[in-house]
Amino acid sequence: MSNFNAVLLECDNISKQYGFFFALNKISFHLDESSILGVIGANGAGKTTLIRILSGLTSPTSGKMVIKGKNYKTDDKFLKKIIGTIANKSFLYEELTIYENLKFYSKLYSVYDKHTFKEKIEHYAEQFNLSDWIFEPISNLSTGMKQKVEIIRILIHNPSILLLDEPFSGLDFNTIKLLIKILTELKLKENLTIIIATHNIEVVQEISDAILILKNGKISKFAPKNEIDKNKIEFYF
């Protein structure tokens, strides 16, 4: 959206159809590097479908999508390596520990190095206040802790884009504040591009550079944050 960064992601007329129902209907937008896009909308507006299409979990019925000049049809593995996704259902295995889950995912992304892995995990665990829980099974963690582990999971393979679907649901005020701080730092320090689909309008207004509002599978409004009047935002729902 800014005039300074290169375009990272381009969606051109993306549609997703289930039978006669359009979950997404001709969505077109583009996003620059190192920016945060907040996707908001009512239930069933198409937020999750958009995140799933961008992460390669669902194929669009029609339309073209280009990320870093590549698309899923020809460069599936490359795109999956540079994208980190948090979906509305956890990707973590409840019966495995934090350490085992992170080791498993770092092996899947071929970034596991047995000499540096422990150090890397200890660093993240300290940053997210999880040092005492590394060897605990996921089932023993609170919702907030699980969400922090999810964030470590997606950071472990050094992605360029983070796709977060409802990352703040079930979290208390302090944990939401902590996540906002972490995401903002990631954008600034690591130059990450972040797309957040959420119901939480306040959070979106706080951290996003641009806001995309979906209504019945269509874009109701897409503009830089400062161009959207926060008192009239619900008008677009």
Binding site: Y93, F104, Y105, S110
Partner: protein, 241 residues
């Protein structure tokens, strides 16, 4: 050449990683396996006690013994199929696998091998139990005959039904009525091999030569290759929405 070798090595590493994760998860949820084994043991008790009540002091004929074992194995397969893809899909962890840069074929093959290992482990316990509880009228096999029975009578059919189970589990994971669809889809796929498996087991336990069961072996091998080919060919469609 070197790139190809490295790619094969990294795919093998991914395969081992997924397999290790599945085995570790399964060990941590031992209750599920214990309940499957208990189901098998209770079934063996019911078969054996029913037979022994009617035929006091008579050893169980091989035919009934083999049918008893394979009937329990087929039921066990349905329990395991739920663990392969259905459970991962419901928990959301399957999305974690499919959104990672792992090819669908590696994912499917690791599930086939996991199903095979789990089924073999359960079979080992059930076959041992049934030999002691059911006391079949099996003649004493020499080492070679015993080895043939294990490899051709048990391992080959187990591999075949593991492939079928993985295929059906992947096919039915998006269905709303999974518990209904799983056995419904499995039935036509395993129906052609039930008769060769039973016949193969009976004849091997009776000590017949391998040359006498070549047709059954070829049929099972052909069925396994066919099912595996279907699994690989439709892997993209199976694991994407």
């Amino acid at each position: 050449m070197s790139t190809k070798k490295n790619s094969t090595k990294s795919e093998l590493t991914l395969f081992v990683t997924i397999l290790q994760k599945d085995i570790k998860s399964e060990i941590r949820q031992a209750n599920d396996i214990i309940s499957i084994i208990l189901f098998g043991i209770i079934s063996i008790f019911i078969f054996s006690s029913s037979y022994n009540t009617i035929n006091l002091g008579v050893r169980m004929p091989i035919e009934i013994f083999v049918i008893q074992i394979w009937l329990i194995i087929f039921f066990t397969l349905i329990f395991i199929m739920i663990k392969l893809f259905v459970q991962e899909k419901e928990r959301g962890t399957l999305d974690g696998l499919t959104s990672s840069p792992v090819s669908n074929n590696i994912l499917l093959i690791s599930k086939v091998v996991f199903c095979f290992i789990l089924l073999s482990f359960i079979e080992l316990i059930l076959v041992l139990f049934s030999f002691f509880i059911s006391v079949p009228s099996v003649q004493i096999l020499n080492f070679n005959e015993f080895l043939y029975y294990i490899i051709i009578g048990i391992v080959l059919p187990t591999l075949d039904i593991s492939i079928c189970g993985t295929l059906v589990s992947a096919l039915s994971m998006y269905s709303k009525n999974k518990s209904f669809v799983l056995p419904l889809l499995l039935f036509p796929i395993i129906l052609p091999i039930t008769s060769p498996i039973i016949s193969l087991n009976i004849r091997l336990l009776e000590g017949e030569l391998l040359s006498m069961v070549v047709i059954e072996i070829l049929f099972l091998v052909a069925h396994a290759i066919l099912m595996f080919s279907i699994l690989v060919l439709v892997s993209e469609e199976l694991l994407s929405e």
